[in-house]
Amino acid sequence: MSQEISEIANPSALGGAWRKLRADPFAFACLIFISAMAALCFLAPIAAPYSYDAQDLALSASPPSTSHWLGTDQLGRDILSRILYGGRISFAVGIMATLVAIAIGACYGMISGMAGGKTDSAMMRIVDILYSMPFTIFVILLMVAFGRSLWLIFVAIGAVEWLTMARITRAMTLDVKSRQFVDASISLGQSKFGIMRLHILPNVMESVLVCATLTMPSVMLLEAFLSFLGLGVQAPLPSWGSLVKDGAEYMEDAPWLLIFPSLFFVSALYALNKIGETLSGGED
């Protein structure tokens, strides 16, 4: 019985998102663009023309040519290949850390909203206080302390980015909780956990999805920020942040080393932000 009720109350989150994106041609183009780019990056071992560390010292830093479409760096490594391999890291960090943020934030928000009363206000006060913490400093210290493991980057960034997710999930939970179908379900003897699983979770999914598309670019930004400071993934493995950093060092003689990685990085972030903004109903 309660199964049926939850289905009525749950228009599919993914379906709604899909319709919104189809309605806006530019946002839909962004979706295709980012999917293609992510696919190319994850298939880098097959798609990239060269390996990320294959050197051709005779070439050194050469401008774009027919054999190296986007040029080579000072060690003669193919820039296009390095960008694709770098994108693999950036997208992996973006997805994994966003999942960590969702897991922490959505659970925290749902529990807080379900509990209500004093527990709820105490839990939200903690989030308020955490908002004012200098997290960039903590992440930097963590990276300095424990080395540059990729797993640590996932967890450290995810642990920083869950706060907004928690706030949104809690607000949605409070909203759903006050609906009549939840009262009906309670009167049918559904447990608190059952309510959460059957009614709250499906209904907060859409907001979580929107928040996730906006969290991902900010996670990728934070990863690149760390890599730029030399605290991200380790050489010779590239990431978009470290490619931009290397490019900045040689920009006077070889501007393509800076421009192409920047172009990939910024356009990926733009597409993700545009999608997130469209899903959340635009700026209005």
Binding site: S132, I137, G241, P255, V266, D284
Partner: protein
């Protein structure tokens, strides 16, 4: 209102202590001490140096000694720069970072607010579309991409500014623009969203119905409430402008706090790390406090809600 401010101020002390204590233990759990990297030193000397700075004592004793010094306002000597006190070094470095941060905040506020207000005033048509494109782009163009690109264009190709350094007054221009762009884009978005929402409220209709001029309705009625999101963002923004300067200071070779913080973290210079973190934490807490108080002054509901219990 007064009760709210007092409550809010009282809250800052535990927050500060939590941050400082967390960092204190974090840096000490890192393998290696401040003097381990100097290989020429014999084991006995190393022990004596550690004993001189009290680094051989149990952790909790070091912690209480640290708190006691903190209460007296002493930050202790730097381990990496013998003969210098942490306080003295911080004062010099923070002055540079503060100038940079203040210039960037001013740019971000002026550019962001005017873009946001203009976008909200003309939401349809070309201007709105252009502004909305740039407000997303600004958020996606991180300082470590923008900074080098600005250097490439203005210093290397056009030769208008010095590429790096902190010697002439013009040196502040490129770094502060680099630092400000992200925040101006974000402020523009918040201002636009806030104003658009506020425009639809019934009280705006009432104000027009009373026969007030559109300019007065806009400036006095709508902006006051519409800018609430911007004000609550100013605390985190000021904090971000200070910590964001890590990257900008590295790119432009500015001798400020950010660059210094990272090198002392890599060196395990405990007292120096603590000094930097405390300074950052104090700034962040202070700006958050100010923006909360301003918000409560604009919207009395906030203060009531918090002092209700």
């Amino acid at each position: 209102m007064r009760l709210y401010i007092l409550k809010r101020i009282a809250e800052t002390i535990p927050v500060f202590l939590i941050i400082v204590s967390a960092v204190f233990f974090m840096v000490r759990f890192v393998p290696g001490g401040p003097f381990d990297k100097e290989r020429t030193v014999s084991k006995e000397t190393l022990e004596r140096v550690n004993a001189y700075y009290g680094l051989d004592k149990p952790l909790y004793e070091q912690y209480f000694a640290f708190l006691k010094n903190l209460a007296k306002g002493e930050l202790g000597p730097s381990y990496k720069y013998p003969g210098w006190n942490v306080g003295e070094i911080l004062k010099e470095k923070a002055a540079v970072s503060l100038q940079l941060g203040a210039a960037a905040l001013a740019i971000a506020l002026i550019a962001g607010m005017s873009a946001g207000v203009a976008a909200a005033a003309f939401p349809k048509g070309k201007l709105g579309a252009i502004l909305s494109f740039f407000s997303i782009l600004g958020v996606c163009l991180p300082s470590f991409v923008l900074g080098p690109l600005l250097i490439l264009l203005f210093s290397i190709k056009l030769g208008c500014f010095n590429a790096m350094g902190w010697n002439s007054p013009g040196d502040i221009i490129l770094p502060s623009i680099t630092l400000a762009l992200f925040y101006s884009a974000w402020i523009a978005r918040l201002a636009r969203g806030g104003i658009m929402r506020e425009k639809l409220r019934p009280y705006v209709k009432t104000a027009y119905a009373k026969g007030l001029s559109p300019a007065r309705v806009y400036l006095v009625h709508i902006l006051r409430n519409g800018l609430e999101p911007v004000i609550s963002y100013l605390g985190p923004a000021a904090a971000g402008l200070l910590t964001g300067s890590f990257v900008v200071e590295t790119i432009f070779q500015v001798p400020g706090l950010g660059k210094f913080f990272i090198s002392s973290a890599l060196d395990n210079d405990y007292t120096m790390i603590m000094g930097c973190v405390m300074l950052y934490a104090a700034f962040i807490i202070f700006f958050n406090l100010i923006s909360d108080i301003v918000l409560a002054a604009i919207n009395p509901k906030i203060a009531k809600e918090m002092t209700k219990k």
